[in-house]
C-alpha cells in the first residue's frame, strides 16, 4: 500500500476510511468557526432548515473580530444577531476586543490530527499545528454547524522543502511565505495542500509556522500543513494543553504531486506589491523609492507577541516619521496583555504609534485605518488586493513586521538589514 500525505492521514482518520487524494469523503469536524462578516449569513441559512441548533455547540466558536468594536449600526445589528444565535444554541462567542479567530483557535482550542472548518479563508492558519484546517463559505459552515459534518475532496499535496538551516539577518517567516507565493503564483496551489518539511521547517517555532500556514490560501491552497513535533508539543504546553499532543506526520513513501525547494539561506526581505500577493520582489530590487502614508502592524498573519517584540526592538528610543501613521493591532487580548507586561506598548506609544484593540483591524477595509485616495500602506497582513483596505484608489504593499517597523521610521519602504 502506498504511503499517505499528512492531509490524507488526517482525513482518513476522521472519515474512518482510506482518504486518497482525489476521492470525495465526508468527515466529522472537530471545530467550527465563523466571524461577524460571514456568520450572519450562515445563521440565516441554518434558519432556512427550520431548526436552530448546533451539533457540537461547545466546539463551535463565533468571533466578533472583523468589525470590532462595531463602527456602524448595521454591523451592531449583525453582532446582536450572532449573540442571539449563541444564546439560543450554546455556541461559544468570542467578543469584540478578544482578537482574531485564527490566533485564538491556536491559543485555546485546536490540536494535532483534528479537522477545523471556518467561514473565513485564513482558517488554514491552523495547519501550523498539524490540523486539517480550511476556509469555506457561510452555507457550508452553517450546514457543518447543524450536522457536525462536511464533505471534502481529498487534496493532492505539494511538498515544500527547506534547504539550509538558518535565515539570513532581517529575514523572517513572512518573507519565506511571500517568496513561496511569488514563486508558485496566486493560483499555484489551487485545491492542493502544502506540506512543509526540511531541516529548517523542522526547527521553526509554531508561532512562525502560523504565519506561513496563514498565507497558504494566497497561493490558492486548501491547507498548509506542518507535521506535529516537539515544537508543537511546546506550543500546546505553553497554552496549558500538552495532553492533547499527538505526533502526526506524512509517511516516508507518501505521494506528492510536486516538490518545491526553498533556499532558506539565500533569502532576503520580500515585498509584495499592489494588487496581488504574488507580485513579489526582494527589497533591494524594489524601484523606485516608495513613500508610505500608513504602516499597519498586526493581523492573523503577524500580530503575535513575537512580531511585536521585533517591532519594539526597532522602535525603542526612536520616532516614527512624522508623515507616517503607524497602526499596531495585537492579534489577541493575550498578545495585548503580554505586550503591556513586557513594556512593548509603552515603546509603541513613545515612538508615536497608535495601538488599536485586538481584532482584524485595518486589514478588512471596514474601520480603523481606511486609506485616502492615492495613499500607500505597508502592512504585515496577508492581502493587498485592490480595495482591500476600504479604498480601491489606494496601494497596499506587504512585508514582515521588521520591514514594516523600519519603514515606519524612515517614511519609505526600507531594507531593515541596514540597521541589524
Amino acid at each position: 500500500m502506498l504511503g499517505h500525505t499528512l492531509a490524507e492521514k488526517i482525513l482518513s482518520e476522521k472519515s474512518g476510511q482510506e482518504a486518497k487524494a482525489g476521492t470525495i469523503t465526508v468527515v466529522d469536524v472537530d471545530w467550527i468557526l465563523m466571524q461577524d462578516g460571514t456568520g450572519p449569513l450562515a445563521v440565516k441559512q441554518i434558519e432556512k432548515l427550520g431548526i436552530v441548533k448546533a451539533a457540537r455547540p461547545d466546539h463551535t466558536i463565533i468571533f466578533l473580530d472583523h468589525a470590532s468594536p462595531s463602527p456602524r449600526k448595521e454591523l451592531s445589528n449583525d453582532h446582536k444577531l450572532l449573540r442571539d444565535f449563541s444564546q439560543k444554541t450554546g455556541c461559544l462567542i468570542s467578543e469584540i476586543g478578544k482578537g482574531v479567530s485564527h490566533q485564538i483557535m491556536a491559543e485555546k482550542y485546536i490540536n494535532p490530527g483534528e479537522v477545523l472548518v471556518g467561514a473565513d479563508s485564513h482558517t488554514c492558519t491552523g495547519g501550523a499545528l498539524a490540523v486539517f484546517a480550511t476556509g469555506m463559505g457561510s452555507t457550508d459552515i452553517g450546514m457543518a454547524i447543524v450536522s457536525g459534518k462536511t464533505w471534502f475532496r481529498v487534496p493532492e499535496s505539494f511538498k515544500i522543502i527547506s534547504k539550509g538551516k538558518k535565515l539570513p539577518k532581517g529575514v523572517y517567516a513572512k518573507d519565506i511565505i511571500l517568496y513561496l507565493i511569488g514563486l508558485i503564483g496566486a493560483d499555484g496551489a489551487t485545491y492542493k495542500a502544502l506540506e512543509f518539511t526540511g531541516d529548517f521547517f523542522k526547527e521553526l517555532p509554531v508561532e512562525d509556522r502560523l504565519t506561513i500556514s496563514n498565507m497558504t490560501v494566497e497561493a490558492g491552497a486548501k491547507a498548509g500543513l506542518f507535521p506535529s513535533d516537539r515544537h508543537t508539543r511546546a506550543f500546546l504546553e505553553k497554552y496549558g494543553r500538552k495532553e492533547k499532543y499527538q505526533e502526526i506526520h506524512a509517511d516516508k513513501d507518501a505521494i506528492y504531486e510536486k516538490e518545491v525547494q526553498i533556499d532558506i539561506e539565500g533569502l532576503k526581505p520580500v515585498i509584495s506589491r499592489p494588487h496581488t500577493v504574488d507580485n513579489t520582489v526582494f527589497i533591494d530590487e524594489l524601484k523606485p523609492v516608495t513613500r508610505v502614508d500608513q504602516v499597519f502592524i498586526g493581523t492573523c498573519t503577524n500580530g503575535r507577541i513575537e512580531d511585536l517584540r521585533i517591532v519594539a526592538r526597532i522602535f525603542k528610543g526612536k520616532k516614527i516619521d512624522k508623515r507616517v501613521r503607524c497602526l499596531i493591532t495585537p492579534a489577541s487580548v493575550d498578545v495585548f496583555q503580554k505586550a503591556a507586561e513586557e513594556g512593548l506598548i509603552e515603546i509603541f506609544i513613545r515612538s508615536g504609534a497608535t495601538v488599536l484593540p485586538p481584532g482584524c483591524g485595518a486589514c478588512v477595509g471596514v474601520h480603523q485605518g481606511i486609506l485616502a485616495d492615492g495613499e500607500v500602506c505597508l502592512a504585515t497582513q496577508n492581502r493587498n488586493f485592490k480595495g482591500r483596505m476600504g479604498n480601491p484608489d489606494s496601494h497596499i504593499y506587504l512585508a514582515s513586521p521588521a520591514t514594516a517597523a523600519y519603514s515606519a521610521l524612515t517614511g519609505k519602504i526600507s531594507d531593515v538589514r541596514e540597521i541589524l
Binding site: 441559512q45 432556512k48 452555507t139 488586493f385 476600504g390
Partner: protein, 167 residues
Amino acid sequence: MKDVLKGKVWKFGDDISTDLITPGRYFHLRSDLNELAKHTLEDADPDFIKKISGGDFVVGGRNFGLGSSREHAPTVIKISGISAVLAKSFARIFYRNAINVGLPVIICDTDQIDTGDELIVSLTEGKIQNVTKKKEMDFPPLPKIMADILNEGGLVNYIKKNGEYKI
C-alpha cells in the same frame, strides 16, 4: 435549475478577487443582499450593474474569485441576474460557494470569448455555443456531489431534501 442558459458576455481579466466583487467598504450591507448586489463587481467595472441584463454571463480569466471566503460574492452575482460564471480557473472557496448558492460555474478556455459575445450554455450536455463567433466548446462535468447540490439550486435545498451528504 435551468439547463440551457442564454445571454451576453461581460469579460474580465485574471485574478478577480472577492474584494473586487463585493468591496470591504460595503461590509455593512452584508445583511442586506439586494442592496449589496447593487455594487456587484463595482471595483472591477464601476458601471457593471447598469450595463447587464438578466441571463448574461460573467467571464473571467485565471483564478476567478480569489481571496476572502465571503459567500456574498457569488450570491450578489446571482442576485444581479447573471446566469453563470465562466473562467479558466476558479479559486477553491469561491467555486464551492457558487455551487452552494446555486450559481453555475464553468471551467473552460475563455481566451476566445469577448465582451458582447452571445452564448448558449447547456449545463447537462457540457456545451458552450458562442453564437457570435460561431464556435463550440465542451466543458467537464462537476463532481457528482456538486452537480447534485447545483441541481437542487444550492446546499440548503440539498440538505433539506437529503438530510445529509450523499457521496
